[in-house]
């Protein structure tokens, strides 16, 4: 892409508007907090003319305020979310609804032949909204986890009392780190949006790496705590080994085909459909599944996830469990549904089905035995990954068709509503973390007496996670299970019940397993609710005020309720259906 095409035709700027906004936000984040009164003396002897160049020197008090970075990032993410939303709501007359970008930076119609690297459609727009929405909520929540105080309120001379001195140093330190946090959040957002858009495996991988590397740093962000760096190191080592293996898989597919575009005449999907995979392509695909399986924390690659979640701060762990997981599923769906679906007798569906069964069962059993609510939520997110993988396996077994589209709709809907209740649960943990607790079940005892509103929110999140009607989690699970069952039972033949059971597809049993696992999961979700409402609190202090964090929790609560039934649930479900249609087209 050269700059000429960017500025001569407005197409490129309009269709990629959410990404351009994120990019501008990153640039602003680097420049604005550094603005100061620095001047530059002209190197002419005998003169002392000084030209201000604004970067550096003594920083201006307005732009140097520690609350500026979070404000810039929140504004950027919000603007990006709104542009993605508007491009879908407004009619396609704006020219932002659907288009493809070629390798040399031209904007084309997606039906035209050519190798496209980015594709804007209902699917990528919905995913962009999920990513930016989740990161926006986490950023708002982090306002109180990493408090920003204007300098003049922090005494600059050292305190004599040791506790006061530590607190003063932390406040100074937090003020300096606002930029880092907000910048990393924006980079995660840009990487995730790239993954949502890309139809070229290498571009997809670059976006994945951008998002993962920023999230490694976010996990280790509280480097003064004991757990932070350890969680960061574990997640970094496992994550970068997984992505190195995945990149090797991509390079094998490149050797196989000579082109990494997924769609199009020379693309991987066309070659897969025409010739079928050979050994090279199969091994390459398997290696890519390792990388994406790590991102969604499927079972053989799940072991770093609980450590990472419990070491990271609450909002960051929430992002890992929602947006980062959704990114992994976007990549999985692009690869599995985009490339290999035409070859419907392929073996990977059995493999994914087996992984799904093990993942959901193992996640639930591990969550039962966990006393730390943060680890419990981490294991429950492993189980949720299992449910979604079961959906993907069912799509693979059924082949393209109405049933598959229904299941894909359910997956998309689930990824969207997961942001409300899973992130919300992590934000409640973040509220307890504000007083230095939250990592033991005992800390939740009597939460209802200390703060009824937060306890009710947590109850709603837990019930939604367990899939209790009429909350959002129920609807997504219902769509998934009914999609699988209705499309497998439809072709049952045989007169007696036992014959009919014998002729059922193995996918049917996956749906039954989702039911059983939901029943098991109810136990550990309700355990938290019981101790919140029936046990005596061990301290009677009110919870921290943390206004922004509470606003974020309330937004999540409202989301978990309104997306469960009614008008907004229908709107979201139809958006998910559009996205599923776009994915299969």
């Amino acid at each position: 892409m050269n700059l000429g095409t960017l500025f001569s035709g407005p197409d490129m700027a309009t269709i990629l508007m959410p990404e351009w906004i994120l990019l501008l936000g990153i640039v602003a984040m680097i420049l604005v907090p550094n603005l100061g009164n620095a001047t530059f003396r002209l190197p002419i002897p005998g003169t002392s003319i000084r030209i201000p160049y604004l970067i550096g020197g003594k920083r201006f008090s307005v732009t140097g305020d520690p609350r500026v970075p979070a404000a810039i990032a929140a504004f950027t993410l919000f603007a990006s979310f709104i542009t993605a939303l508007l491009s879908q709501i407004l009619d396609s007359g704006v020219g932002m609804a659907e288009a493809c970008v070629t390798m040399n930076g031209l904007v084309q119609d997606c039906t035209s032949d050519g190798t496209h690297i980015l594709r804007v459609d209902a699917f990528s727009r919905l995913m962009e909204m999920i990513f930016t929405g989740a990161l926006l909520l986490a950023l708002i929540a982090n306002w109180d986890r990493l408090p920003a105080t204007p300098h003049h309120r922090i005494p600059l001379k050292p305190e004599e009392d040791e506790i006061k001195e530590t607190r003063r140093l932390f406040r100074l330190l937090n003020n300096r780190r606002q930029v880092d946090f907000a910048l990393l959040v924006l980079m995660v957002a840009l990487g995730m949006c790239t993954v949502a858009l890309s139809t070229n495996l290498f571009i997809l991988f670059v976006g994945l790496e951008l998002a993962s590397m920023a999230s490694y740093v976010l996990i280790a962000f509280n480097k003064e705590t004991q757990a932070g760096p350890e969680a960061g190191v574990k997640y970094f080592i496992v994550g970068s080994v997984a992505s190195a293996i995945g990149l090797y898989g991509i390079s094998m597919l490149y050797i196989w085909n000579g082109d990494l575009a997924i769609y199009g005449s020379g693309g991987l999907a066309a070659k897969w459909a025409a010739e079928g995979p050979n050994g090279l392509a199969t091994i390459g695909l398997g290696m890519m599944l390792v990388a994406f399986g790590f991102k969604v924390s499927a079972v053989p690659f799940h072991f770093a996830a609980p450590d990472a979640y419990s070491g990271a701060s609450g909002p960051v762990a929430g992002v890992l469990a929602t947006a980062s997981k959704a990114m992994g599923f976007v990549a999985l769906m692009r690869v599995l549904i985009g490339i290999t679906l035409a070859d419907d007798g392929s073996d990977w569906t059995i493999l994914i089905g087996a992984i799904a069964a093990i993942t959901m069962t193992w996640g639930n059993i591990a969550a039962l035995g966990s006393r730390n609510p943060k680890r419990m939520l981490a294991y429950s997110s492993v189980a949720h990954a299992g449910y979604i993988l079961a959906g993907i396996a069912a799509i693979g077994a059924l082949g393209p068709g109405d049933g598959s589209q229904l299941i894909a709709t359910a997956i998309m809907f689930h990824l969207a509503v997961l942001v409300t209740f899973k992130l919300g649960a992590f934000l409640v943990i973040a509220l307890l973390e504000c007083e230095g607790r939250g990592y033991e079940l005992e800390h939740y005892h009597g939460l209802a007496r200390r703060d009824p509103l937060i306890a009710i929110s947590m109850l709603i999140f837990m019930l939604a996670l367990a899939g209790v009607p009429p909350l959002a989690g129920f609807l997504s699970k219902l769509m998934m299970v009914s999609g699988i069952i209705s499309s497998t039972v439809g072709d049952v033949s045989g007169s007696s019940l036992s014959e009919a059971m014998g002729s059922l597809s193995w996918v049917f049993w996956l749906a039954i397993l989702i039911f059983i696992n939901s029943a098991i999961s109810l136990f550990y979700y309700l355990r938290i609710c019981v101790v919140m409402f029936y046990d005596e609190p061990d301290r009677n202090l009110r919870l921290s005020r943390a206004p922004m964090l509470r606003i974020a929790i309330m937004l999540c609560t409202m989301g978990a309720v309104v997306f469960g039934f009614g008008v907004l649930a229908d709107v979201l479900a139809s958006a998910a259906a559009d996205a599923a249609t776009a994915l299969f087209s």
């Binding site: 290498f202 970094f236 080592i237 390079s251 050797i255």
Partner: protein, 100 residues
């Protein structure tokens, strides 16, 4: 000119070395080096593919992959440094605080 298949073979060999090193070594820095070896194996594969198909994509992918590897080292060393300044060790055997 060297046959592309030889280049890809060398890539596979390097990848195996890296993979074995990741699972056997305990020093975080050496594990990071092994990850770098794996990423370089990827580069060799892209080069081999580009030479075989005579298209330029592979060269572009290689140069971007080098940048990714460099970024990975920067992030990794920063995280290791945070761990080291806290515990005084970067041996992966001794990072066992987060359990249960």
């Amino acid at each position: 000119m060297i046959e592309p298949s030889w280049i890809a073979g060398l890539g596979a060999f390097l990848f195996c070395i890296g993979l074995v090193g990741v699972f056997t070594r305990k020093n975080a820095i050496i594990v990071l080096m092994c990850i770098e070896i794996m990423l370089n194996a990827v580069n060799l594969n892209f080069v081999a593919g580009a030479a075989h198909y005579e298209n330029i994509d592979g060269w572009v992918y290689t140069s971007i992959a080098i940048a990714i590897a460099a970024a990975e080292v920067a992030v990794g060393l920063a995280i290791f440094l945070a761990l080291y300044s806290q515990r005084g060790t970067i041996s992966l055997d001794e990072v066992t605080l987060l359990k249960h």
